[in-house]
């Protein structure tokens, strides 16, 4: 049950303080409008009913327009939109995008309160709330139906929390930008300014209160083992009496990564093939107007899940594999290491019958050897490749379109290969997908991809799953997401086995007792069956709401293979919306690749009929009866909410104890405290090509804070610091002093800092020459470093609390 917030609670969010003299923060929350993000998820089988609530507060004495660029799961269907001000609920409606914008602009110009939500990319949405009255809060609610990704062992629910910065190539366009973001619109990405919200600096308490609760049916979870849930944010499981398990994320988390919940699924759910149905008569009305669309012929929607047969004996055909590695600046840190590891492991699985090539791209494409071509994977060549991989580091931009097309060219080239022999061709793409020109990438891919299979490994804690999913759907390929090195350890075996031929090809569907409406299947290009990946297809059917669906195909030997699934009776809510969302995405992609403008009308018709948001429609809510219309000040205050920078370090994996016990984390890599670690800083430099520190000493300060944190022994006692740690600390301090010396002589300020930390030099000398570690000198050295770096007292682990 979702409890609605009362108007008093909403208004309490802003603290109700008077506008104080400038120079002090307005309230303890500052002036930023977004105060609360609340997500309530209820998981049932393959679907997750998600309810997202955002609270915007206006702390000023004049009306405000707030803009928020935020992500949602790309395959989720947005089916509800509502705005609440002063206890009054305004229901939203769905309309063609230009018309919705015009209605919103007109309402705001008249001084009425209004909100509009638009989709920029499958996983990026923009919400504008206009004319928020002075000192009030607005609650905006979205209702979604999201997918749960299931494989034979575990189920995954992913909810993104932040839009990461994306590389937007092209030459900048003249004229006013179309959005409020900081990236300029370019000819390749004409809406780059809509995808780039400003970046929130760390060092302040999180301005947005995040609440996330997930309910999973007890029967869906494998029982018996403790810690069967894994989560990317610290969370606890709360004990409930109902037959659901409730996971609650700990308060105070920052919105800087995807929320991922994984659990081991019960064995009965894992092994059966099922069909579920939703007749149109049982479908809730929602935002749609209900009149049938030409795209949605038939009486209802079905989803068929087939569990593929086990992998046969390894008599596989020879393969041509091309690895395309993203080595752009955004892949800095653990991501490029993970990519290199994965490629090295996959190269290990090749034999001398196979051929292999590697391309590493940023602004340009590099490859080992003189010419890019697939070569026989002899032992020597594989070793050379792995050696070359070790030199691949992260730098530069992300030219994904040309590189992927080149990879496909190589994989499908006939020259040099034995004629007449059937070979499997694979292209493996390892990237975080953070690019703005998704349509251009898709267009180029559609022209070059023919027979090769694409396997995408998405490596990022806030990965661009929208784009990577689109790439996989367009080619009938697979995608695997890895959000940390721990996760890579878990799925490495699975990833290694992905570049093998599928167990069943040429898949076709047929129904008995109900007819499948042709041309309505999602995905439209039926994927081949791969061991471990359940085959999930949605479509429209005609006839009674009962029957069987047959899946036929050819197995590895060429013999016919068939499987059958029976409709289990009863209806599953939300199927229609999920099908419509998939169909809309397929039509949008087809419009991008074929430029067939008649599709636009079909898309808008399907979207408004089923009430599911897409790129060509928008959700708008306008307050109809407004007793005291706000008088807009001119120019109106407008704020675009800055967002946290997507975390670049490994996203930790938390395994939770059941029954309300506190969660414990495996290999906690996050450093607590306000200062970001140095790798964050250098990664930023590489990505944007600008230095950002005002103060040349900031980088050195970060290093000092890092040294101090790393020197901590397990029990936090300065007397038990190991000699190795001390040596590392001393070496680090000397490097720091050298760095300071290079900066020295610039300003009076720097010279003073050097003098202050010069005391450290004497201590270092004393520690080096002493035969054993002297705790008092060590503590004094740590004090000096902490003073220089500005480490707050609660993080000074060597200080004994009295």
């Amino acid at each position: 049950m979702i409890r609605a917030l009362s108007p008093e609670e909403l208004n309490d969010m802003i603290g109700g303080q008077e506008e104080s003299g400038f120079g002090a923060l307005l309230t303890e929350h500052g002036c930023l409008p977004l105060r609360v993000l609340d997500v309530d998820v209820s998981i049932d089988g393959l679907q997750a009913a998600t309810h997202v609530r955002q609270v915007f507060a206006n702390a000023f004495a004049e009306p405000l327009e707030a803009t928020y660029v935020f992500p949602l799961p790309p395959r989720a269907a947005v089916i509800g939109f509502r705005m609440t001000i002063d206890g009054q609920v305004v229901e939203g409606r769905i309309d063609e995008r230009a018309k919705a914008r015009a209605a919103y602009d007109e309402a705001v110009a008249q001084g009425r309160r209004a909100a509009i939500a638009e989709e920029e990319r499958p996983n990026v949405f923009t919400l504008r709330v206009g004319n928020i009255p002075a000192k009030t809060a607005v609650l905006v609610e979205f209702t979604l139906v999201a997918e749960v990704a299931v494989d034979t062992l575990e189920a995954t629910y992913r909810f993104p929390l932040v839009v990461a910065p994306r590389y937007c190539p092209g030459t900048a366009l003249d004229g006013a930008p179309v959005g409020d973001g900081w990236q300029p619109d370019t000819d390749v990405v004409p809406d780059a300014s809509r995808l780039s919200p400003p970046v929130l600096l760390p060092g302040m308490p999180a301005p947005v209160a995040l609440g996330l609760r997930v309910r999973v049916a007890r029967t869906a979870v494998a029982t018996g083992t403790r810690g069967e849930f894994g989560c990317s944010l610290p969370a606890t499981e709360q004990v409930t009496d109902s037959d659901e398990r409730l996971i609650v994320v700990a308060p105070g988390q920052r919105l800087d990564r995807d929320f991922i919940l994984r659990w081991r699924i019960g064995s009965d759910a894992a092994c059966t093939s099922t069909v579920s149905l939703e007749p149109d008569t049982a479908r809730p009305r929602g935002l749609g107007h209900g009149t049938p669309a030409t795209e949605a012929d038939g009486d209802g929607t079905f989803v068929v899940t087939i569990v593929p047969p086990a992998a046969p004996a390894p008599s596989r055909r020879p393969r041509d594999v091309v690895f395309v590695i993203d080595r752009s600046g955004s892949m800095g840190g653990w991501k490029i290491t993970a990519a290199r590891r994965t490629v090295a492991r996959m190269i290990d699985t090749l034999s001398a019958d196979d051929r292999v090539a590697i391309l590493a791209f940023d602004d340009t494409i590099e490859h080992p050897g003189d010419a890019p071509a697939v070569e026989w994977a002899t032992d020597r060549h594989r070793w050379q490749l792995v050696e070359w991989l070790g030199t691949v580091d992260a730098r530069g931009g992300t030219e994904l379109a040309t590189s992927l097309a080149r990879g496909f060219e190589l994989a499908e080239a006939e020259a040099g290969g034995p004629v007449g022999e059937a070979r499997d061709r694979f292209v493996v793409l390892l990237t975080d997908g953070q690019v703005g020109h998704e349509d251009a990438v898709l267009r180029k891919l559609a022209r070059s991809a023919r027979t090769a299979r694409l396997f995408v490994v998405g490596i990022d804690a806030a990965v661009n799953d929208g784009l990577l999913g689109r790439l996989a759907d367009a080619t009938g390929g697979l995608v695997e997401f890895v959000e940390s090195e721990d996760r890579l350890d878990e799925v490495m075996d699975r990833i290694r086995s992905r570049i093998t031929a599928p167990v069943v090809t040429d898949v076709a569907l047929a129904g008995s007792d109900l007819t499948i409406v042709p041309g309505t299947l999602v995905p439209s290009r039926l994927p081949d069956l791969v061991p471990g990946v359940p085959f999930v297809v949605r479509g429209r059917y005609r006839g009674a709401a009962a029957g069987r669906i047959h899946v036929t195909g050819l197995d590895a030997t060429g013999a016919a293979w068939t499987a059958e699934a029976m409709a289990s009776g009863g209806t599953t809510a939300g199927l229609g919306s999920l099908w419509a969302r998939g169909r809309l995405r397929a039509l949008e992609d087809r419009l991008v690749t074929t430029d067939d403008t008649s599709l636009e009308q079909r898309i808008v018709e399907l979207s408004t009929s089923f009430g599911v948001l897409c790129r060509y429609t928008a959700l708008v809510a306008i307050d109809p009866n407004d007793p005291d219309r706000v008088v807009a000040c001119d120019p109106m205050r407008r704020i675009i909410q800055p967002v946290d920078y997507a975390v670049r370090r490994d996203a930790c994996c938390y395994m939770m104890e059941a029954d309300g016990a506190r969660c414990r984390s495996q290999k906690l890599r996050r450093r607590s405290g306000a200062l970001p670690p140095p790798s964050w800083l250098s990664g930023w430099d590489d990505f944007f090509g600008d230095g950002f520190t005002e103060d040349p000493l900031d980088r050195v300060r970060f290093q000092a804070a890092d040294l101090v944190a790393k020197a901590r022994p397990r029990n936090g006692d300065p007397e038990s610091v190991s000699p190795a740690k001390v040596k590392r600390l001393l070496r680090g301090t000397l490097a720091l002093l050298e760095a300071l010396g290079q900066n020295g002589g610039q300003t009076q300020a720097v010279t003073e800092e050097i003098e202050r930390i010069g005391a450290a030099f004497a201590l270092v000398h004393a520690l080096k020459t002493a035969s054993s570690v002297e705790p008092t000198s060590l503590v004094r050295l740590l004090d000096v470093l902490a003073e220089f770096a500005g480490v707050p007292t609660e993080q000074r682990w060597w200080v004994k609390v009295a």
Binding site: F22, G23, L25, G30, C31, L32, L64, Y167, C168, P169, G170, T171, A172, L173, D174, P177, W182, Q183, P184, P197, P198, L200, L201, P202, G203, M204, P207, L359, D363, T364, I365, E366, H367, D370, A371, P372, R395, G396, G397, E399, T402, S403, R406, C633, P635, R637, R638, I639, I640, P642, F688, G689, D690, G691, F692, E694, D695, T747, A749, E752
Partner: protein, 243 residues
């Protein structure tokens, strides 16, 4: 004297913006006392502020030059003033969100009229050469599209292996732009080398005049009366606004 009916200034170049900001803040608070603040904002600092959202995007581009208006001046000056009082940039970001011009002026400690006045004075005292440059940029229709931030992503690759034909911008970076220096009426000098500063350009023009005069003496002969006029000047890059 403040000119009441003058059009609002919206075409300050970056060095002019920096000069105005320094003058505004220096009289309001001792900036030097806070040693973490760099007094004169440069291109990278302004770009960083734009990424944070505390400074708006440039009012317009003319060729490759970004031009700024009063709101930008107030935003940068407010940031500096608050930093001088000891606020961190994170606090400034959250405190300055959505502020009107009047509130920003209050943070800086000067009335809006004084800021306007200062900007008008800066425009009025523009050197003649700077004015000619800006007018020339304004006269060229559209100008060359500014590479802007996109240029920062393109880094010339050091190990140039296997570059694709579809990646032209890397090549563009490595070839320095041609700069034009008009000399007299009929001749334009094409400079292919290090970017020229204003003084260098003036000196080059001065040095080239005798050569051009000598060549023109040949051109004065009947055959060369149909000599084609020089090509129209391409938009010149502005020094100080280079990325």
């Amino acid at each position: 004297m403040p000119t009441k009916n003058a059009a609002p200034v919206s075409d300050l170049t970056l060095p002019e913006l920096a000069a105005v900001v320094v003058e505004l803040v220096a009289s309001a608070a001792p900036v030097i006392a806070n040693r973490r603040v760099r007094a004169v904002p440069d291109v990278r600092t302004i770009r960083w502020y734009q990424t944070l959202g505390v400074v708006d995007r440039p009012a317009s581009y003319r060729g490759r030059t970004a031009l700024f208006g009063r709101r930008h001046v107030l935003q940068v000056a407010a940031i500096k003033a608050l930093q001088a009082k000891g606020m961190s940039l994170a606090e400034v970001q959250q405190g300055l969100a959505g502020r009107t011009d009047a509130e920003l002026a209050r943070a800086v400690g000067h009335p809006l009229a004084a800021v306007d006045d200062l900007m008008q004075r800066t425009v009025a005292t523009r050197s003649r050469a700077a004015k000619v440059r800006i007018d020339r940029c304004l006269a060229v229709d559209g100008g060359s599209v500014s590479p802007g931030r996109a240029a920062a992503f393109w880094k010339p690759s050091t190990t140039a292996r296997g570059t694709t034909a579809d990646v032209p911008a890397a090549a563009a970076i490595s070839a320095p732009a041609l700069q034009t220096v008009p000399v007299g009426d009929a001749v334009v000098l094409l400079w292919h080398g290090q970017p020229l500063s204003a003084t260098n350009r003036a000196r080059l023009e001065q040095l080239a005049r005798p050569v051009v005069a000598f060549l023109s003496s040949f051109a004065a002969q009947p055959v060369a009366e149909q000599a084609p006029r020089a090509a129209s000047p391409a938009p010149r890059p502005e020094e100080g606004a280079r990325p």
